[in-house]
């Protein structure tokens, strides 16, 4: 599944809406402030595309709500905003630690053999990588099983691709615009003189 143009359209609209909220506040602010504004509104726009159906989108909205509650409330209209922001994050993390410790104890009693060790190492490696993936994907720590994790990753990657594509086109357009201004102001108008 690739990012569709309708997705990009929707993302752009939502992002613009978010930037509108910032616009009156933005004059004479530093570059980092502007960057933060851009990024936060882009993130909320990306997450709101999914309308609360995926775990990562909810987690992302909650994360940005901690940084800028006002923006999130404005961007997400209706009841959805309240429920999403006030939702408490599940406390699965604690349980996982306990489970892991007990598994370690159990493992010590098992007998070893060559093949099993190799398999066990492979499994450990895979587990490490999945933990790494959980750290990267927003809300990953709260996804209990691997199937859900991979599904969320799929969706997250597609949304990220949409976001990157739209942002890149905007940047290029803005850059081309500023370049063209410089070009036409600087160079002689030879085309007109020849005619």
């Amino acid at each position: 599944m690739q990012p569709t143009s309708s997705m990009k359209e929707e993302f752009l609209q939502k992002w613009q809406m978010g930037l509108q909220i910032y616009r009156p506040l933005i004059d004479n602010t530093s570059v980092s402030e502007r960057r933060k504004a851009i990024k936060l509104s882009a993130d909320v726009a990306m997450a709101s595309l999914r309308r609360g159906t995926t775990c990562w989108s909810r987690a992302l909205i909650q994360k940005t709500a901690t940084e800028d509650n006002f923006l999130v409330r404005q961007m997400l209209s209706g009841i959805k905003a309240e429920t999403l922001i006030n939702k408490k994050l599940p406390k699965v993390m604690c349980h996982r630690k306990i489970v892991r410790r007990s598994k370690k104890i159990l493992r010590r009693r098992k007998s070893r053999s060559a093949i099993e060790e190799v398999a066990a190492k492979a499994r450990k490696l895979v587990k490490k990588k999945t933990q790494g993936l959980r750290n990267v994907v927003p809300g990953g720590e709260f996804m209990s099983n691997d199937v859900l994790l991979i599904q969320e990753t799929l969706d997250y990657i597609v949304s990220l691709q949409t976001q990157v594509n739209v942002m890149r086109s905007i940047v290029d357009a803005a850059e081309a615009g500023s370049e063209r201004t410089a070009y036409y102001l600087g160079k002689p108008k030879f085309a007109i003189e020849d005619g």
Binding site: R34, R35, A37, S113, R168, S169, V171, Y184, A191
Partner: protein, 395 residues
């Protein structure tokens, strides 16, 4: 011995089915053998362990039949208990030395009786149907049988050939048992059929299916096969995408100080087929281009097109219409390059096109509002002659 049975030429369906089933039993034996090998290295497996009764497999009630194989058979299979419906031809399994010769293949007279019973079992069986699936079995077996002897491999190869002929028949029989209310889960040949391992296997299949989707999504990981490698690539890709977002937002913050990317979005979805069709939509009226230079606001209020090919083409002046044409002709070639060079490389070509083909510099109306001045008014003393008058003088 069983091979002898096959060669005997009795090609009834029943026979084939029987033998086929024995094949699967053989496979299971082999797995069991390996299992025992791994878990009890010094252990010399005796043949009672080798009799996982096929119908016992079918029911799937026993949690792990491996350790208790052949020993805890439920009452219902009393008849089949002692039947050596499996052939363990002496030469094939080298681990069992002396016992093999005693266990010959079951006598012919018990054969049919056994088969009838067995068929009853199959009908009664509702929960698990053992099916032979070759390819995935191969993968699993290849891992398990790293240390297995050559002879076992030979047996497996022979089993494969029989299986191909049997698979059709077995499926016919199993279809009857499928028409029930229970959820039928197909366990693979030679694998444990208890509910836990089946659930786990289903979960693993789901994971691998989704990993395949991810493989399509993440660029450049078609060759990576293992889970760990794939996860690595996925992590890297997600991180790179996130970093790109950061970088682009920073760039955007520096480029536009007022956060107003004046985007007049025209999502031209119709403009895919004919590349040149882009041009009429995007050309601004030529009179904008005259004399006094290019108006500044024209530059900022660019038309930003999102066409389905994920290209952005800005057309704020007639020059860029050539850009459009150029980009459209570059369709098949690298589209991404266009992002990086939104400005046409060949400016000469741009001007030539604009001047001679589109005629932007000549085909426009000159009037007072354009900001231009009529030369005759500026210098009234000079005698002006029109071109046609001049040409008349030459005649």
């Amino acid at each position: 011995m069983m091979m002898m049975m096959m060669n005997g030429g009795e090609a009834t369906e029943a026979e084939l089915f029987l033998n086929c089933d024995d094949m699967s039993v053989l496979e299971r034996q082999r797995v069991q053998l390996n299992y025992h090998q791994y878990h009890h290295p010094g252990f010399e497996p005796t043949l009672p362990c080798f009799f996982p009764n096929s119908s016992k497999m079918n029911v799937g009630e026993v949690d792990s039949f491996l350790p208790s194989a052949g020993l805890d058979l439920p009452e219902i299979y009393g008849e089949l208990h002692g039947d050596a419906r499996i052939s363990v031809s002496p030469g094939n399994i080298t681990t069992e030395s002396g016992n093999s010769k005693k266990r010959k293949f079951g006598c012919v007279d018990t054969e049919t009786k056994v088969f009838n019973e067995k068929k009853k079992m199959m009908m009664m069986d509702r929960e698990v149907v053992v099916e032979e699936e070759e390819e995935e079995e191969e993968e699993e077996k290849s891992k398990v049988t790293e240390q297995c002897t050559r002879s076992i491999m030979k047996m497996k190869n022979k089993a494969k050939k029989e299986q191909n002929s049997c698979s059709n028949d077995s499926s016919k029989v199993t279809k009857d048992s499928q028409r029930t209310d229970y959820i039928h889960v197909r366990a693979r040949r030679g694998q444990a059929t208890d509910s836990h391992s089946i659930a786990e296997r289903a979960r693993r299949e789901k994971i691998s299916e989704r990993m395949k989707f991810l493989q399509d999504l993440v660029p450049g990981c078609e060759k990576i096969t293992g889970k760990a490698g794939m996860l690595d690539e996925i992590i890297n890709y997600v991180q790179s995408l996130q970093r790109q977002v950061e970088f682009l937002s920073m760039k955007l913050a520096t480029v536009s100080p007022r956060l107003d990317f004046n985007v007049d979005e025209i999502f031209s979805k119709e403009v895919v087929s004919a590349p040149m069709m882009n041009l009429p939509n995007t050309v601004m009226p030529p009179h904008m281009m005259v004399n006094s230079g290019y108006p500044h606001d024209m530059v900022n209020s660019g038309y930003v097109h999102f066409n389905p090919m994920q290209q952005v083409v800005t057309s704020s002046d007639p020059l860029s219409c050539f850009n459009n044409g150029q980009s459209a002709t570059m369709w098949d070639s690298d589209v991404q390059n266009l992002y990086k060079t939104p400005y046409p490389d060949d400016m000469e070509m741009v001007f030539i096109y604009s001047v001679f083909i589109k005629g932007h510099h000549t085909y426009f109306e000159i009037d007072e509002s354009c900001g231009g001045v009529n030369g005759t008014e500026l210098y009234p003393d000079v005698k002006y002659m029109t071109v046609s008058e001049f040409l008349d003088t030459l005649l």
